[in-house]
Amino acid sequence: MHEMAVCNELLAQVRASAVQHGARSVATITVRIGALSGVEPDLLERAFTIARAGDYTDQARLVIETIGVRIRCRACGNENDAAANRLLCSACGGYTVDLVGGDELLLASIELQGIPDAERSNQGENAQGENSYV
């Protein structure tokens, strides 16, 4: 299980981004995981609940967008969805295909809280945040 190592890589990036933006905490982290990326969404989720402990990501939520395998046939140009271990053209049966999608391992976006500028314009609203982290 290498998902813990992947998770630590992810969180290092997220924390760097939080510091760069002067944020107080991270609310949501959205990642895109392809079926051929070598990362299991369930295991990543479990690793995340352990790895997130720390200043910025203590209360963060992980959103995983999974992406299926899609291929384009080099022989006939047809595009179709495919199983991760059966990358064959559904039109001509060819096996020389290019992967169009499915190997993604992307940090898509981060929802940051308590960025100074935003905080200044919304001072009255701040008291309610149970999940804000100071």
Binding site: L36, N85, Y95, Q113
Partner: protein
């Protein structure tokens, strides 16, 4: 149950705090490893060394193949090995007994090598010795067909071993690993006459189902070794690899 605070009061909501701000990133999730891998690759290219990442399940014969590789090359190329194992110095010692320069990384409980571990090893393991610069550096990854595939180390080529004592449908079971391969080596082929459940053709078909045309070669590295195709493949890859960064530069300028 409320997903935010975990309490069981029905119908209450936690409004989105007004000071949230979404930042689009769209960057590789492994950027710290990938950065270290790029750094390693630069170092390899400056030294003109070809780096081959050897992966397989445990016991497929990676170390044995490397022992025979030194003999098969007959001194024509200078090779060195970085070994990855959870524990013990055994594999590196085995290779050293055969006269091969080897450095052992023990990962503890980690199931794969990553670019940071290789970077650290390179500080202790120079890419030149009394016989001159290393021509091919092998990285023998931790025996595992899952995790090593996700970590770029800075290598130039991935070689995956599939031994005849495993199932010939391994490519279909471990598509991520076998898709990453630049070459698949069917190892322990000396055993084929004794086995009734492994077909090299079925292994090829299983690999073809992954949608790429990865070459497949066969090796026997046991008592009656035959690794001719493997040695030929290595020498061909070495021959087409730029010896130094300087040699590489004019090629990129004319492109």
């Amino acid at each position: 149950m409320c997903e935010t605070c975990g309490c069981s009061i029905p119908g209450h909501e936690h409004p989105e705090p007004a000071d949230t701000h979404t930042v689009e990133v769209l960057k590789g999730l492994m950027s710290s490893n990938d950065h270290a891998a790029a750094h390693n690759r630069e170092h390899f290219d400056r030294s003109g060394v070809l780096v081959v990442n050897l992966m397989s399940s445990p016991g497929a014969g990676k170390t044995r193949l490397l022992e025979q590789t030194a003999a098969g090359l007959g001194g024509r190329l200078n090779i060195a090995v970085i070994e990855g194992d959870l524990e013990t110095e055994n594999d590196a010692e085995r290779l050293r007994r055969g006269g091969i320069r080897a450095h052992q990384i023990t990962t503890g409980s980690a199931c794969h090598l990553d670019a940071h571990l290789i970077h650290r090893a390179l500080h202790e393991f120079p890419l030149a010795d009394e016989q001159g610069a290393v021509d091919i550096l092998f990285i023998e990854n931790v025996g595992n067909l899952v995790c090593p595939a996700a970590f770029d180390l800075g290598q130039h080529l991935n070689v995956v071993l599939l031994s005849t004592t495993e199932g010939d449908d391994k490519p279909a079971k471990y598509p991520v690993m076998f898709r990453a391969a630049d070459l698949v080596v069917v190892s322990k082929c000396g055993l084929l006459p004794m086995l009734d459940d492994f077909s090299v053709d079925r292994a090829r078909a299983s690999l073809a189902g992954l949608g790429n045309e990865t070459p497949v070669i066969q090796t026997a590295a046991g008592r009656q070794p035959d690794i001719t195709d493997w040695i030929a493949w290595l020498e061909a890859r070495r021959a087409e690899h730029p010896a130094t960064a300087e040699e590489r530069a004019p090629a990129t300028q004319t492109a």
